[in-house]
């Protein structure tokens, strides 16, 4: 079985639910464009989401068909993307991460500032910080794509776009042009990639 890259996204309930789902879709859709096998989905146990609750969204990328498709959770995330920086304080966001993982955080703060809140940072090979909220505002909340529904809003309009750009730069898993191709806010993706500061650890 080929290695499956696990991407876990942390977001806030309701206010970031759709953008979180969009980010997982951008990761999966762009990798799909690159000819990878992919999947993107909501954490079923985190739903129904409540305003403010920490939520997980997932994506998987593989060179071969994904055999573990029906497992609820990414138990060993290689990449963790945090859409709201305060989540790093309350959650063990790196839980299960194999050594050498990548962390991407949406924050105005510095990487060093954020690392203070991450006691198991030795698992990381890098931390990338981008002020995604400064690049693209959150878009309106819309529930129509939740609970297995088809997304009505265009995918990647809000903060998911710059974060996907930053993730492309931080991980090398996704080609930037592929992310740009699948995102609604193409400028946002590019700006995110540009603005992202990658710090090797």
């Amino acid at each position: 079985m080929a290695e499956v890259k696990q991407v876990t996204i942390w977001a806030r309930g309701v206010t970031q639910d759709m953008e979180g789902r969009h980010l997982s879709l951008l990761v999966a859709n762009s990798a799909d464009k690159d000819g990878k096998f992919v999947q993107a989905w909501d954490d079923y146990a985190d739903l129904p989401d409540r305003v403010g609750v920490p939520l997980r969204k997932y994506a998987r990328i593989s060179e071969e068909e994904i055999e573990m498709r029906y497992e609820y959770e990414n138990k060993q995330p290689n990449v963790v993307i945090v859409m709201d920086d305060t989540i790093i304080k309350g959650m063990d966001i790196l839980h299960g991460m194999p050594k050498g993982g990548v962390l991407v955080v949406n924050s105005k703060r510095s990487a060093d500032d954020l690392l203070k809140f991450i006691p198991n940072k030795e698992l990381l090979s890098s931390i990338t910080v981008v002020d995604a909220s400064g690049i693209a505002a959150d878009v309106a909340v819309d529930f129509m794509g939740s609970e297995g529904g088809v997304e009505v809003a265009a995918v990647g309009k809000g903060i998911s776009a710059p974060l996907a750009g930053a993730a492309s730069k931080a991980t090398g898993l996704l080609k930037l042009e592929s992310v740009v191709a699948v995102a609604a806010n193409k400028e946002g993706v590019k700006q995110g990639a540009e603005a992202a500061k990658v710090k090797k650890l």
Binding site: G13, V14, L47, P48, R50, V51, G52, V53, A140, V141, F143, M144, S146, E147, G149, V152
Partner: protein, 326 residues
Amino acid sequence: MANPVKTQNLEHIKGIRKVPQEEYYVPGHRTCQGCGPALVYKLVSKATGPNSIFLGPTGCMYVANTSYLCSPWAYPWMHTQITNGGAVASGIEAAYQVLIRKGKYKGELPNIVVMAGDGGSIDIGLQAMSGMLYRGHDALFIMYDNESYANTGIQTSPATPYGANTTFTPPGKKIPEGKVLFPKDPPQMVIGSHPAVHYVATASVAYPVDLINKVRKALNYKGPAFLHLHAPCPKGWLFDAKKTVEIAKLAIQTGMWVNYEWEKGEYTYQHTPKEYKPVKEYMKLQKRFDHLTDAHIAKMQAFIDAKLKAPGKPIAVPVQGPREMA
């Protein structure tokens, strides 16, 4: 010789300082930031005190409060199906009547409270609610109204206002206003045909002392009572979590919600503004109404104007049903 069934007498309070500091709906539940129904639960629990049994039909206040295998209720609580809150409460009340009569339970009759959402009250739970109220059980049926099936991701219920965007009434080209129907009037349904009920009231999280006193008054009646409690829902109505109480107040100031009591046939009204603000002021703070045109809002205003002529009483409202409009 049968033992008499002793009931509790709960004190009327004068102000916020007299509200018990003790919490019986304790911190630690997975309800939204700024959750109106959670605030209702807290206030009702303060009103009842610990000598109570609460029934929780399926809904937000079941799922969010017990996820997973934990509980925020310091008094006995039981899950019921969304369908049968009133019926399970009836069984519990009947059990206490006979257990006390037979001397098997020594205490006073506990306050038996059903905390049902709008779906568990006036939609799928209507039959059980009506049955409990009709049969005269000494129990309180509370409908905490957050105006949708919120737990499953905001679907329309008979309490959802006209024009609301829910995931089952999305606005579209053919149906621009989203929800087409106007809501049921829950207290009127109860008042209209339940001879055993002597007390029905509405209350809002905007006026907590009033809410607490109404819960206590309802429980002091030996027999069934019904409360309709307004509980703004930041997720379903799409407003900033900090505005829950503000929105609740605005509902009263615009006439979208009216606080009143119906006691043995007499109506009294509380918190009536000198002059009602236009409903638009209330609606514009909630993204669920974002898609509405001025014509839609005028229709809502006409509905509210008609209702405000005699809140809680049957009145012809100038609203056409979907078949009439077609």
